[in-house]
Amino acid sequence: MGSDFYQLSILPFAAIIIKICRAYTNSQEDFEDYYQEVCLQIWRSKDNFNQESEWSTWIYRISLNVCLTYLKRQKTGKKGIVSDPLPEEVVDDSKAFASDEINELYSAIKHLSETDRAIILLYLEEKSYEEMADIIGSNTNNIGVRIKRIKDRLKKLINQKD
């Protein structure tokens, strides 16, 4: 990968990739693998970017699609397509961020289905319903209904811990 492309086109948007990859991984090692895979796929797909949407939207799409179809390395040697929820005690990146509240929120997000994780991440990133529907491939009404349910579930999960 040309380092210029990484420096100019990926690094300024690294926060997006980090936030998404964290939601789909349970360890620092997995997180770094996912991050690098997303960067690789952004670089490989750059010629397909048609400038109809913003570059950041493109990065959201690639990041989510990569996380949804990533072949996760497992300690048993088997491979899984996506991050399987792990029991709390084996999740070793529960201190990934400095804020305990964020770590708790991520911990709750990881209990959601892969699709719900994508929806709530986009919602928290203040994407409009239209943008979310466009990135995920749904319609705005259904996104709205689903967000309400996800938020209720997250609140319950966080309150259970408190």
Partner: protein, 216 residues
């Protein structure tokens, strides 16, 4: 919980230092862990392996005095190369920049169509492969001795294509059994390697479909 999840999110990421990107080393040469890329690689390796394998087989069969079997097996393998090339080309149309639903659906369509194409060919390949090997066995010196021994034990006047009828009957029966289970054999192989991923993919797609069809 006193704060809303929106507030937690906003306040938690105010200090961008928490979002430090991991080091990226030699990314260009990194092997992809994406399932689409993995399958593309598998098809590409298949093409090379079949090409090399068919040439080795041709050479080996010629060396053991069965050049026609070598040519026959090469001919059987050529369509596999063509199929793998065609499927590889189709997979390049899968853009990861589509919406998640469209991406997963196009991947699923490609996957199903590839499996179907391979299955159709394996329905023919496995029985013909078996038949070729079996006929070579029968016409070989060792096979001739074995059949002569059988004829002493089970003498018969019914000879078909120069062989006792029961040899032909067993050959047809075994070929039919191989044909009957050829698709199952291929799918078993696929399931062993990718079964878990395929199941997860199916679950993801169902969830996405449910999201699209949800009503208030």
């Amino acid at each position: 919980m006193t704060k809303s999840i929106e507030t937690i999110w906003k306040e938690g990421f105010i200090k961008e230092a928490h979002l430090t990107a991991p080091k990226v080393n030699d990314l260009y040469n990194r092997k992809s862990q994406n399932i689409v890329d993995k399958l593309q690689n598998m098809f590409a390796i298949n093409i090379k392996a079949i090409m090399v394998g068919s040439l080795i087989m041709l050479a080996m069969m010629s060396l053991i005095g069965a050049p026609f079997l070598g040519i026959y097996l090469c001919c059987l393998l050529v369509p596999l190369i063509l199929i793998a090339k065609k499927e590889l080309k189709k997979s390049t149309d899968l853009s990861k920049g589509q919406s998640s639903y469209d991406y997963l659906m196009s991947f699923d369509r490609w996957l199903k169509s590839s499996i179907e194409t391979y299955s159709s060919y394996y329905k023919i390949f496995y029985p013909l492969f078996f038949l070729g090997m079996a006929i070579q066995g029968i016409v070989s010196d060792a096979g001739g001795e074995f059949i002569a021994m059988l004829l002493k034990l089970l003498p018969t006047d019914i000879i078909i294509l120069g062989q006792p009828y029961y040899i032909i009957a067993v050959l047809i029966l075994l070929t039919l059994i191989v044909a009957r289970y050829s698709v199952a054999l291929y799918q078993l192989d696929l399931n062993i390697v990718y079964g878990r991923q395929f199941k997860k993919l199916e679950e993801l797609i169902n969830d996405m479909k449910e999201l699209r069809n949800e009503t208030q």
